[in-house]
């Protein structure tokens, strides 16, 4: 009886694992604003804001769905601002001051990757 229960639990765990996407990478592209996105790196001028789409990519089946929660957190909020926008998987990135900031990307509460935000000086106000 006990052995049967153990087998059932193992089977359930395997089934759940099989239904969970396996993180592979991020799909990041700009939606609004003047910043540039190359891979996981975003470059924008200080004082400027832009909207980016950030969606995790799974290694295989199943893929991530809209109900998979992606969140961003800036590790240097004095350099780069990051916060969710109104739509799913859309985020507002802002250049607060010149410098480089890393933004932690978590999926369903688990830290999976990071974005690098290069905040550069405004051309018109640069010395």
């Amino acid at each position: 009886m006990r052995k049967h229960a153990q087998r059932s639990l193992a089977l359930l765990a395997l089934t759940l694992l099989a239904c969970t996407p396996t993180y592979s990478s991020l799909d990041v592209y700009p939606l609004d604003g003047d910043g540039e996105v190359v891979g996981n790196t975003i470059e924008l001028e200080e004082g400027h804001a832009m909207v980016v789409h950030v969606r995790p990519v799974s290694t295989g089946y199943p893929s991530y769905e809209d109900f998979d929660i992606v969140s961003l957190e800036s590790r240097s909020p004095t350099i780069a601002f990051a916060e969710g926008a109104r739509e799913i998987d859309e985020f507002v990135i802002g250049g607060v001051s010149v410098g480089t900031a890393r933004i932690t990307v978590s999926v369903n509460g688990r830290d999976e990757d990071e974005l690098v935000v290069e905040v550069v000086a405004q051309q018109e106000s640069a010395p």
Binding site: E46, G47, R86, S125
Partner: protein, 295 residues
């Protein structure tokens, strides 16, 4: 994209619809201050600009539909709120306080030349944003608040008060927004005093001459004030027939419109240039009926 008709009373919905169709539109704020709106760059609502002082060029003049300012003067203060089309309210915050400093709730000061975003945020999301340009004014004009005339040489009578505004001017940006903070001083406070609380207020104390110095965002402006005693009253029953062209032939623009002071009589000939006699707030109770108000 938020819809235009999801929230608010019908009148407000119509207003939002029209504002959505137009680039910018005007309403009147709760406190009666003029406001102008422009859609956020993400289209979820409108940013509402309000002047802090009447010296803000956006709120000056007779234009009942002033446009949303293209930019804000360096050092200029203004209020900015956000009205979301759908969902809970959002608060405006500055993305970078290096550019827009937060003075108070919804009140900001342009601190550095450049362009910076104002964010409309609520709970844990950013609903919208608006990039605003900050420029250094080419010059700052000091104008009489009542007549709009520039302050070159100001003639005042003892006891009179005059109000002036500091107007930022930019050839690169029109309209430019923002009310400027400034300091003001008088070379001889026994003749005329100057205060700088929102507007520049001069009070004539005694006959004489003084120079007023005004400094705003590093720009220094000076102008002279000549204070003289009020002229001798006309004998009872006589009226002055001065039509505003004194012996010097000039055409002054005395602005006694709101004052009960009737000392305007006989002063015309004294004004020898384009200065503006500013008895707007004079509370003189002289009952002389010989006023012409056209000095």
């Amino acid at each position: 994209m938020g819809s235009l008709n999801a929230q608010g009373p019908p009148g407000r919905r119509r207003s939002l619809l029209w504002c959505g169709l137009l680039a910018a539109c005007t309403t009147t704020g709760p406190s009666g201050t003029p406001t102008v709106e422009t859609p956020g760059e993400l289209g979820h609502g409108e940013f509402v600009y309000a002047c802090v002082e009447s010296s803000d060029p956006v709120c000056r003049g007779d234009d009942t539909r002033p446009p949303f300012p293209d930019c804000v003067a360096l050092g200029g203060e203004f209020e900015l709120e956000y009205e979301v089309f759908e969902g809970p309210d959002a608060q405006v915050s500055s993305l970078s306080e290096e550019y827009f400093q937060v003075v108070a709730s919804s009140r900001f000061r342009a601190a550095r030349v450049g362009t910076a975003a104002m964010l409309a945020r609520r709970a844990d999301e950013t609903v919208d944003y608006l990039h605003m340009r900050i420029v250094e004014p080419d010059t700052i004009e000091i104008r009489n608040a009542l007549t709009g005339s520039p302050a070159d040489t100001v003639l005042m009578r003892t006891g009179a008060k005059a109000i002036f505004e500091l107007i930022p001017i930019s050839g690169d940006c029109d309209p430019i927004g923002g009310s400027l903070n400034f300091t003001a001083s008088s070379s001889d406070p026994s003749v005329v005093t100057a205060s700088s609380e929102g507007t520049l207020a001069l009070t004539a104390r005694a006959p004489g001459e003084a120079t007023i110095s005004v400094e705003a965002i590093g720009m220094l402006h000076t102008f002279d004030v000549v204070v003289s005693d009020p002229p001798t009253r006309w004998p009872p029953g006589e009226t002055e027939t001065d039509t505003g062209t004194g012996s010097d032939g000039d055409t002054d623009s005395d602005s006694d419109a709101s004052g009960s002071d009737s000392d305007a009589t006989g002063t015309t000939g004294m004004d020898s240039d384009t200065t503006v006699d500013t008895d707007a707030t004079d509370t003189d109770t002289d009952t002389d009926t010989g006023t012409t108000g056209t000095t």
